[in-house]
Subunit: 230 residues, 2 copies
């Protein structure tokens, strides 16, 4: 009896933990989107039966929450930002970059309150950067307003990106590619302003558009933070 035909021992089960499970789920999602994440596939990637996961996770929703919080670790700034504006701008851009790396995050962003440790840490450093600049309510509103902006902007950006990817081409050709549908609609003449926008609009790249809108919002916040509490 040689070594190589000795029957495998029944595959000593590799010990599992949340980290490994979450990592496997993220890998699947990065490769095939959120819809490629099923408990069965996650388990298979860890050489385990599906039910095994329930020892570490109580539901699929919980797994999704853990995935999100894991990505928040990438969003946490390396050092406490210098001023509030840099803190908020950095947060927005890091969130955007993380979402470009993990597109599935766009489907989850803002869908549920983020209470994981990493998300809390992100919120903490953000609040700390704004501490004392105005009364608490104003600070909260500032953070939430900026957060609402970049959350929505990122979602839209990913949505457009996917649509372009699906039809195959850039927004310029998009009017044609997006099918007869839109073209026909615009041709009806019922949407003159929209037609002008589609045909005459400059194609701006997503990042600058994101950054510009962000600066607008930050300008607005600056104005409100400056005012003394009523």
């Amino acid at each position: 009896m040689t070594v190589w035909d000795r029957p495998e021992p029944p595959t000593r089960p590799v010990p599992l933990d949340r980290e490994r499970i979450v990592a496997a789920a993220i890998a699947l999602a990065d490769e095939g989107g959120l819809e490629a994440v099923s408990l069965r596939k996650v388990a298979a990637r860890l050489d385990a039966g599906p039910m095994r996961l329930y020892g570490y996770i109580s539901t699929k929703k919980e797994l999704l929450d853990l995935m999100v919080d894991e990505v928040y670790a990438e969003i946490l700034p390396e050092e406490q930002p210098a001023d509030w504006r840099e803190a908020l701008r950095g947060l927005a851009h890091r969130t955007r970059q993380a979402t470009l790396r993990h597109e599935w995050l766009a489907d989850l962003l803002g869908g549920r309150p983020t209470l994981g440790p990493n998300a809390l840490a992100v919120t903490e450093t953000t609040l700390a950067a704004l501490d004392g600049l105005a009364d608490l309510d104003t600070v909260m509103r500032a953070v939430e307003t900026v957060g609402a902006y970049f959350t929505g902007a990122i979602r839209r950006e990913i949505a457009n990106l996917r649509a372009e990817r699906a039809t195959g081409l850039s927004k310029r050709d998009w009017q044609r590619a997006s099918g007869p549908h839109l073209t026909r609609m615009l041709a009806t003449g019922r949407f003159p302003a929209l037609a002008k926008a589609v045909y005459d609009g400059t194609e701006v790249d997503a990042e600058t558009s994101f950054a510009t809108g962000l600066d607008w919002v930050l300008d607005a916040v600056a104005g409100k933070l400056a005012q003394p509490p009523a």
Copy 2:
């Protein structure tokens, strides 16, 4: 043989159309959320077999798109708004109200480019209200920035609302209700700014918070629209 025991004729199949299908789907979603919408249940509500729907709809995603566009009909303003600010503010508030009536909309908002006729009509009147106030690129950025804000804000509001509903109580009791988890986290002292925010923060109602953030963003837009094109 009397009338009432005459055997039913084999249930003359009610003729179907997209409208009825979409209406049934929306009704289901209003009652039980998006996860209550399955082609089987929609069909059942119309006394039809599931496969029957495929004569009018080619995929479930398409049905969801149709549902969204149907709600955009509620968002369309009744009359062309007077000025740009009112146009954008109204759009934001109507979208929010529609989402409060159809909470599932929050799960779909911003998830996909909206190309249905009603959504296009909404975009059209919005663009028309801003037409000529600045160069096209600036106008587009204005619309997109405001849209990103209220999209994100609405999603967060619904997410919080669901969380509160799940734990049962208001945000004030939420720190306790949200389970040992958050409380323990805050008690670690690793999140001083966040703890202060949670414990000392005023509870502001969602609508004013939404409106305030919106006004900030509109102020910012006003500043940019005022500037002459570079």
